[in-house]
Amino acid sequence: MLSVKRKQFLIFIVPSLLVLAVTVLYPLVYSFIMSFTSSSLKVRGFGDFVGLDNYIKAFKDAYFIKSGWTTGLFTVIVVTLEFVFGLSVALMLNRIKRGKKLFFTIIIVPMLITPVAVGLIWRLLLHPDLGIVNYLLGVVGLEGQAWLGDAKLAMMTVVLIDIWHQVPFMILLLLAGLVSLPGEPYEAATIDGASRLQTFWNVTLPLMKETIIVAVLFRVITAIKTYDLIYVLTKGGPGTTTEVISYHIYKQAYTFLNTGYSSAMSYLLLLVIMLLSVVFVRLGRGKAQAR
């Protein structure tokens, strides 16, 4: 028996569920079925049922496994750096009073640029022979680098470009969390005579926990799904040094036309992200209740 209030409350969630059922559920189920078939873009419909063959194939695919590790490395570096950098900038922005708008506007501009353009523009800036970056390095007496053309540097270069493009998202979310914090705990901390670092550690971080977990998990998921930047910058090269998993899946679907196999790989990826998310969410919720 639902009370009238509970019934009214359902109005809050039902519309979203309906929209999601239409826009997300259908493609999810469709590609799940596809992952058990030999489906290819060359033939209409699903193709033959092949059981777990696609999944087994994925585990034997050395390039898939390697791209998994590459993605893991990429995600860890990108998210960690973005979090540290993003939190520092958000804290600084939250502290100042004058010029806040100006700084904020400048800092969010990169994320307004579409990834394809970001890639192409950075290729202009980082051109080893004709780029402004190497030229300026030369002016101050440093040797220019090959950047995207150097197997050792390519990954780091992609990471830096991704940070330039995506860190504003992190700043945005963390700043929103910071400005929503209640004022009372800080007053209490000041009365207790806590130092700045103590206040940050004992008041700000615990209060920000929810926001931090949301922001970090959001970036983890989008970082794992990165493919357009790789597509424009390196196409996975030199060699396979920057071949991330989403790009690998993309090629299986559109170059090799194996939609069945690419769906299976996608679901394996989904499983991994799902486990990661469970850990994150548990982490956040557990502590929140303790508080």
Binding site: V109, L124, A176, F218, M274
Partner: protein, 275 residues
């Protein structure tokens, strides 16, 4: 006295650090602006010409070669409408989940789970569905598709912000006799405004920058800016100067838009409650 001085020192350090950060973001943008006023031959000249005679050709080109204004309009409408719907539905759903005791974790993961599949494998079923509904190359197709990612992310982001708001506040309002909806709109929403703005900007930008669905689902009628921009990389080379001009044109209005929205985001509602 010393406390004040250290405060002032910290202030100046903060400004210096922020200026450095801002420069990291700004310098490449300035280079884009400069490139947008040059030809390709000058764009790649090293050592660079510092004083160039600017040309407006690139700006003229992008508007004459293709209906850039129309693509801009398409992008704006699709991104704005999908964001508004996502904010509206997502905020309510997020509140519902945030105030639930049981099953919260499961719902969280489930909602996020919808976003864990690479979009590449979602494109084919979505294309077939849209084609069957005879909606290819329309705004509706893109808006509906964009809701498939902006709504879950919106719910997910807002849950966090709503949870940070103490339950007692809206419960107190309900005890005073308001309905759930009133408690939500009068108490929770104002407090979560910075979060909603942030999530709204995020959702807008994800739609604004989306490429793959826009490519597959549109023709020339509903084509969006990212697709138009991608077309500037041709088999005969990248039209880098035009691309920079297009980028400048894309950035400008959104910067203006964000100036308007920032009021809610940067200052937040806490100042209101302190007053």
């Amino acid at each position: 006295m010393t406390a004040k001085r250290s405060e002032r020192l910290l202030d100046s350090l903060t400004y210096i650090a922020l200026t450095v950060c801002a420069l990291i973001f700004l310098l490449p943008i300035l280079w884009i602006v400069r490139t947008s006023f040059t030809t390709k031959a000058i764009a790649y000249q090293i050592p660079p010409k510092w004083f160039i005679t600017p040309t407006l050709d690139n700006y003229r080109d992008i508007f004459t070669d293709n209906p850039f204004g129309k693509y801009f309009m398409n992008s704006m409408v699709v991104s704005l409408v999908s964001t508004v719907i996502a904010v509206f539905l997502g905020a309510m759903a997020a509140y519902w989940i945030a105030r639930r005791v049981k099953g919260g974790n499961f719902l969280r993961i489930a909602i996020l789970g919808t976003q864990m599949l690479p979009p590449i494998v979602m494109v084919i079923p979505i294309f077939m569905m849209i084609k069957k509904l005879n909606l290819l190359d329309s705004w509706v197709a893109l808006i509906a598709t964009y809701l498939s990612f902006s709504l879950p992310y919106m719910i997910w982001l807002l849950m966090g912000f709503f949870e940070a708001i103490p339950k007692d506040l809206d419960e107190a309002c309900e005890i005073d006799g308001c309905t759930k909806m009133q408690a939500f709109t009068k108490v929770v929403l104002p407090l979560a405004a910075p979060g909603i703005m942030a999530a709204g900007i995020l959702s807008f930008l994800m739609a604004w920058n989306e490429f793959l669905f826009a490519l597959v689902l549109t023709g020339t009628g509903a084509r969006t800016l990212p697709v138009a921009i991608a077309n500037m990389e041709t088999q005969q080379g990248v039209m880098i100067a035009q691309l920079c001009a297009a980028t400048v044109i894309i950035i400008l209005p959104v910067v203006v838009l964000s100036l308007f929205i920032q009021k809610y985001l940067v200052n937040g509602m806490t100042m209101g409650s302190v007053k």
